[in-house]
Symmetry: C2
Subunit: 391 residues, 2 copies
């Protein structure tokens, strides 16, 4: 195992009716005027925005609002948010939404707490030294941005999608009411489950892992798989929603990777390029690629994949580790199908030409600077092979 740091300062307030604690939490973390930041109309339709405002009013917290965050949140709206907050004297940011909304708030927070152009931090020109305090009200269980150190923003000038990871942007508090996720369409719920699982799988498929971390990761994955299946039959199952929602935070706050180095992240980066070229949902894109990636890299460490098969998916051990491992990949794909996720690009609705595959591989290789993968280091040719297998 390797040395590690674990830092999750976010105060989580989890359960039914917790939205009403928003005002008191803002106060507790020193806020007096907040920006309510959100995406489209769903927070208005469901009445959530009104609940949030009422909770703030009751605590005497002033507020302004900025909606319009889209998936792959845009830099232009971040600039708009920074300007609005400066003008209004906002001292705490209150994103109400999923990963995109929280990521957008993080970027606004960087912009407010540092001089100069906030894009510099995403473009690796400079590092931020602070971030304005953030409290998140989570409505989608997937990205785990409510406890993570990461923020991904898209610059429309060149359509560059870049991330900035620092501890400064970890939210001060997160309100997580599983009931808020019940209005999500089944497909989006399943995409979230796939994303959550992948956040832990990226950390799990690695070398030198720690027994305790493995045990936690395996337990988390089993719980998410069981709850995801339950949600197909009963989208209003509170316990299942709660398990998925809490797992979304724990899967990306670092817990399931402690002692295991940085993780593999090949599936994320391979999907990233597919998402850039075609319009696909992130979680579905991950599911469409995972099986091909797994079969391609499995010979590097059959024992690890066999452990995953037995401990996460309940596969009976076969004659050898490779056979057990392959049964595990099949079982995982069966699970994806059971929750309505694709297991290849065609099922994802994407049929890249050979030229497009080469372009995807080239872009992925350049973006990862020739250093992708922990289980197996992937060359540009490997990447193209995995995309071809995933067709």
């Amino acid at each position: 195992m390797m040395n590690f740091e674990y830092y999750t300062p976010t105060k989580v307030v989890f359960g039914k009716g917790t939205v009403e604690k928003a005002g008191e939490l803002v106060k507790q973390f020193g806020g007096s005027k907040v920006l309510i930041h959100y995406g489209g109309g769903s927070v208005k339709r469901t009445g959530l925005l009104d609940r949030v405002k009422a909770a703030l009013d009751a605590a005497g917290i002033a507020h302004v609002e900025l909606g319009g965050v889209v998936p792959n949140p845009r830099l232009s709206l971040v600039y708009e948010g920074i300007e609005l907050c400066r003008k209004e004297g906002v001292d705490l940011l209150l994103p109400v939404g999923g990963g995109s909304v929280i990521d957008s708030a993080k970027a606004i927070g960087y912009g407010l707490a540092n001089d100069g152009d906030v894009w510099d931090f995403y473009d690796f020109k400079r590092a931020p030294t602070a971030c304005m305090p953030i409290g998140a009200i989570v409505t989608i269980a997937a990205a785990g941005s409510e406890m993570s150190n990461s923020s991904v923003i898209t610059n429309e000038n060149g359509w560059l999608k870049r991330g900035c990871n620092t501890d400064y942007c970890r939210p001060k508090f997160a309100i997580m009411d599983p009931e808020l996720t019940m209005t999500l369409p089944a497909y989006q719920t399943a995409c979230g489950c796939a994303d959550i699982l992948m956040h832990t799988m990226e950390r799990y498929f690695n070398f030198d892992v720690m027994d305790l971390t493995d045990a936690l990761a395996e337990g988390l994955m089993r719980a998410v798989i069981a709850a995801s299946r339950e949600l197909v039959a009963d989208p209003n199952n509170y316990e299942a929603r709660a398990n998925v929602m809490w797992a979304s935070s724990l899967s990306h706050n670092g817990l399931t990777g402690c002692g295991a180095g940085g993780g593999d992240w090949a599936c994320h980066r391979l999907e990233h390029e597919v998402g850039g070229m075609f319009d696909v949902a992130h979680g579905a894109g991950l599911a469409a690629i995972w099986g091909s990636w797994a079969r391609y890299v499995l010979p590097e460490d059959p024992a690890r994949f066999a452990k995953f098969a037995v401990n996460v998916l309940g596969v009976e051990p076969q004659a050898d580790a490779t056979a057990t491992a392959l049964k595990g990949v099949e079982a995982m794909e069966d699970f994806y199908r059971a929750i309505g996720m694709p297991t290849n690009l065609r099922e994802l609705g994407v049929e890249p030409t050979e030229a497009q595959i080469l372009e995807l591989a080239e872009k992925c290789d350049i973006a990862t600077r020739g250093k992708l993968g922990a289980v197996k280091h992937l060359t540009r040719e490997d990447m193209a092979n995995i995309y071809r297998m995933a067709k």
Copy 2:
């Protein structure tokens, strides 16, 4: 499941050679002059104190020191620490040790950050509103005080042992190098493992638990049991030391109880009185009582104990839940014996008379104000019965 809050702001820096980061971490959390707080001579003998001072000197952090913390840390030393820190202008507390030393530092921190007598906070007369920042350098894996909200202090005036639990005292950072725990005697190591397991068992034996929390708790307990066994054979096994040490934090920072209400805590409170009347090690006392408690309360929820037996101890399911549950209790006691822990009071070296048993039960009942136990609410008579079974 129930609503919950989860708040673990402590930055954990884990692994070999992390002591050398002490100075830079103190700086990062705003300290310029620290109190190095410790227990007996072992931190001097092992050279750890010199390493800490060198790390502080290298970062330009001034320091004063106060040793002499004993198990069941005393209020008189807390007063001495408060006075010393006020005089010296200390702005961050740096306990170097186990739970007692960290708890003592927390009490000093309360005293420094609030007016009046610090004992008021332990005597439930007032609640603190702040605590001076603390950074812990952990040398014993057991109590988990490095991430917890709790501090227990003994007032020599009346020998009152009381706790104060608030989020203010959670350390800002914790340096955890498993190598520092390798010098512990085998008995103390095993006591630590028993304490760690009990912190999760107290939360696990409960109602309305959350599947994800159960999966994490069961994984943690399996990992601790396996590592504890390894340490009997090989006390210098770094991986086993690391698993036990990281589990000590996760077992008492709230993670293994999320959604499960407050926990049972009967074993802790029953042991607390034994520890008050006889001089026993906390972890050993817990092990001595657990089996009797488990057999006594098991009829209330055989299914829960059966789940524990199968998922934590690998027991084969028997004809019914009660039979499986009882096999689990036996397996747990076998484990305690394997690591040199007692499974009854006699093996602990304590043989209470009937009058002493009644006194233990009376004290426990008064201290818990007639409200002990989640699996089964324990009356004073129940407590006496469990003590008798544990003889």
